[in-house]
Amino acid sequence: MSRVLVGVKRVIDYAVKIRVKPDHSGVVTDGVKHSMNPFCEIAVEEAVKLKEKKFIKEVVAVSCGPTQVTETIRTALAMGCDRGIHVEVSGKDYEAMGPLQIAKIFAALAKKEEASLVILGKQAIDDDCNQTGQMTAALLDWPQGTFASEVTIDGEKVKVVREIDGGLETIKISMPAVLTADLRLNTPRYATLPNIMKAKKKKIANMKPADLGVDMVSRVEVLRVDEPPTRLAGVKVETVDDLVAKLKANGTI
């Protein structure tokens, strides 16, 4: 049992009101408060817990993006990760970056670092894709335990309790594997100031996608971003007859 890769994504903080850019090409990110994706925090916490229980030796935090993502990696280091990897992506490549590109990067890193587990958050709160974990597993041809609400290591296998529509599903998968963290997996610890100070001494390696042999070309092009239409007020009616009359009037029936 050696190494776990944990992915952390820097996203706009969940409490901030999003504003669409005047040219509708995306959302305003300049100067806006960002923080670690909440599901990534849960993933980091799980990895650090596994290390504390001595199932794994080293936790490596990975993030892809421009220089600012190193702050997010530092927070992961302050929570207990041993070292970080910053895969530098900026400009047009960063704007077009999606789950497929990230999955390719993680697959390459997982092989390079000889990881036994890749733990990711189930989805990011900015794009809500819920694809990266699954794609990474497919590219590596590894088993996947997604929407994990409980993870137990049992020798060379991992028992994962998954949150599914019908309730909870328990599966046993062999390592190496990809796991994605769901909300109830754990409560992430705080990154306290002494740990932030110690984290400044931990190493963050810097590399480019090309160094991993990954091509960042996206086959998806964002044409336009708009705010959702303003929700119109509902209309209350007194009787069933009124309801039928209104529905007839607006052509529904």
Binding site: D13, Y14, A15, V16, K17, R19, P22, D30, G31, V32, K33, S35, T187, P188, R189, Y190, T192, L193, P194, I196, M197
Partner: protein, 627 residues
């Protein structure tokens, strides 16, 4: 029909009534008081009052059984100087210290803690920056990319009536004249200062609030401790509980901004306010709008007084056209917190001011993109406390160097930080500090202040704000300013006094008329909750409310009973609500701590002075972007 027992009217019966209420809070009693005590019982809002305050500053943990056996040791670290607050004053002090260290080739460890998640996120100001202090700090600020992009090109001043506008000529020499100044988004400017500080080697830790002042055995300040994390809403420890960290320093600078919570403690501890008047404040509310390009006049500065405030309520508005690409205007409203009518709502005054024809025409067709609020100092010269004490000093808006008629405080805050750094540097780098106390006492800072342009400036304008306390209110003040400031430049030999504590100015509700505010129209004016959402404010929900009450029963017994709950109206974030009790009779106070935007108005204006604002878990609070 109830019988008012004669005993209910005596002082001792009221005392027993209060006792009953407090006991009732501790043991929830279902039975109700007998009918003859109905008069006071209604004020105490019956026996079933849920507890509001659970913070450890009111209920100490060493006496709390839930905290038995919890590890309370703190990790400690040493620096040469620790600075509380990453605003213009704190950052200027840090930068100046590191500049001196570089010049004189000395090593100096400077640590700065800031409660916001990133530098600039809790910064809010108009703002028209006078570059005097910046020119001294960074003469090459333009090459360094300081975000001063909008020089002031036009300066308008108006007196508004309900429908019309009386223009007032902006003569050179009047304090409000803005020639040579820049309209800035102070949050972005502060963020830039933070980057400059980091480049010089200052250790900046955003997201960590200074929650406690630490003292040496000899009573001097030893440093600060950051906030604990992982305390549940009811005050008990959670699994993720961790103690804050102690940062020790030879000298600690407190730059918490207007009405800092640690400064409040230091005033009492070191008796710093014995020779000055109590500070008076105002609340400033601000919005950012993207307007129709045809209406955009980059560099234009507009100020107004008058409508919708009456002549005895100090306040006014600002509207600045920024020049940063988009047609952006920064606008806002300031209301002096010495107002007397408890029915006044600064937020709603701000919203209705926007409907004035002169303002509405700029905003029509535009979109509001940001909102925030903060208290500011209005006391000036008369309210300056002693600013140095063994082990520390106060800088910036915390002691309060704002030039009120100029409505500028950033340049003086920065200068005070720089003067502090210059006074400290020789002492902290000296081989033998030769200090009587373990924490260094550096009174040279106060001497430097008195010799600087800050002092001259504040002295010259000292009588303008107090001159509003006359029968003619606003108009009397303007006449005084015209005669004594514009002509005599503040050289008159007398110094007028302020009216006293802001919290003591409210008249009982029954002596005042409720104000009929118009409903927000959703285009120019908005409701409170959608405004709060725009501030991006949030806090970890499961933590004790940081708006602590010394006595949970006073809000209903005093604030609601006598003043009709003014906190529901002066809080710009909807933190305080009086809601009906679930069990029927009476009201209770509900504190929505998560909404708080850290403006400090409640701590200032609470007529009972029962609210004590303490710092919540770090990185909570508003997420202002360039406000």
């Amino acid at each position: 029909i109830f019988l008012a027992s004669p005993s209910a009217l005596t002082g001792s019966a009221l005392f027993f009534a209060a006792q009953r209420c407090i006991r009732a809070l501790k043991t929830v009693q279902a039975e109700h008081a007998p009918p003859q005590h109905y008069t006071w019982r209604r004020n105490c809002s019956s026996a079933v009052m849920p507890r509001i305050t659970s913070h450890y500053t009111i209920f100490p943990r060493d006496k709390d059984p839930r905290w038995e056996g919890v590890e309370m040791e703190r990790f400690a670290d040493e620096a040469d100087v620790v600075i509380v607050g990453g605003g213009p004053a704190g950052l200027s002090a840090a930068i100046r210290l590191k500049q001196l260290a570089k010049e004189q080739e000395k090593e100096l460890r400077v640590c700065l803690v800031e409660k916001a998640s990133q530098i600039g996120a809790h910064t809010l100001s108009g703002a028209c920056l006078e570059p005097s202090a910046l020119n001294e700090l960074f003469p090459d600020w333009k090459e360094r990319g300081a975000p001063l992009n909008t020089p002031v090109t036009e300066d308008l001043f108006s007196i508004l009536t309900e429908k019309y506008r009386i223009p007032v000529p902006m003569l050179p020499g009047l304090p409000m004249n803005n020639h040579g100044n820049y309209i800035v988004r102070l949050g972005h400017f502060v963020h830039w200062l933070g980057e400059q500080a980091e480049e010089l080697g200052v250790e900046i830790y955003p997201g960590y609030a200074a929650a406690e002042v630490l003292f040496h055995e000899d009573g001097s300040v030893k440093g600060i401790a950051t906030n604990d994390v992982g305390i549940a809403k009811d005050g008990s420890p959670k699994d993720v509980f961790e103690r804050g960290m102690e940062l020790h320093a030879k000298v600690t600078l407190f730059g918490e901004g207007c009405h800092g919570h640690l400064a409040k403690q230091l005033y009492r501890q070191f008796n710093l306010r014995e020779n000055c008047e109590p500070q008076t404040y105002a609340i400033g509310l601000k919005e950012l709008w993207v307007i129709d390009e045809k209406k955009w006049r980059p560099g234009r500065v507009e100020h107004s007084v008058g409508w919708p405030l009456n002549r005895n309520t100090y306040g006014g508005s600002f509207l600045y056209h920024l020049n940063e690409g988009e047609p952006l205007v920064a606008l806002g409203f300031v209301v002096g917190l010495d107002y007397t009518n408890p029915y006044l709502s600064p937020f709603r005054e701000f919203q209705r001011w926007k409907h004035h024809p002169f303002v509405a025409k700029t905003l029509e067709g535009g979109d509001r993109i940001a909102y925030g609020a903060r208290a500011l100092n209005e006391g000036g010269y008369q309210c300056l406390p002693k600013v140095t004490f063994p082990g520390g000093m106060l800088i910036g808006c915390s002691p309060g160097f704002m030039n009120v008629p100029k409505i500028k405080g950033t340049h003086t805050a920065m200068k005070s930080g720089m003067l502090a750094a210059e006074a400290i540097f020789p002492k902290v780098t000296a081989e033998d500090p030769a200090s009587e106390t373990a924490g260094l006492h550096i009174p040279e800072y106060e001497d430097n202040l008195k010799k600087s342009w800050i002092w001259k400036e504040l002295y010259a304008v000292r009588n303008i704000r107090p001159s509003f306390h006359n029968y003619f209110g606003l108009y009397g003040g303007m006449v005084y300013t015209g005669v004594f400031y514009w002509i005599l430049r503040g050289k008159e030999p007398w110094t007028l006094k302020h009216a006293g504590l802001d919290s003591a100015q409210l008249k009982p509700a029954k002596e005042c008329t409720p104000i009929e505010y118009p409903k927000p129209d959703g285009k120019l004016s908005f409701d409170l909750l959608s405004s709060v959402a725009l501030s991006g404010t949030n806090h970890e929900g499961d933590q004790p409310p940081h708006l602590t009450l010394k006595d949970d029963s006073i809000p209903v017994a005093n604030n609601l009973a006598i003043y009709d709950g003014p906190e529901q109206r002066f809080c710009p974030a909807g933190v305080y609500e009086y809601v009906p009790l679930e069990t029927g009779e009476g009201m209770r106070l509900q504190i929505n701590a998560q909404n708080c935007v850290h403006c400090k108005t409640c701590d200032i204006k609470d007529p009972s002075q029962n609210i004590n604002w303490v710092v919540p878990e770090g990185s909570g609070g508003p997420a202002y972007n360039g406000l």
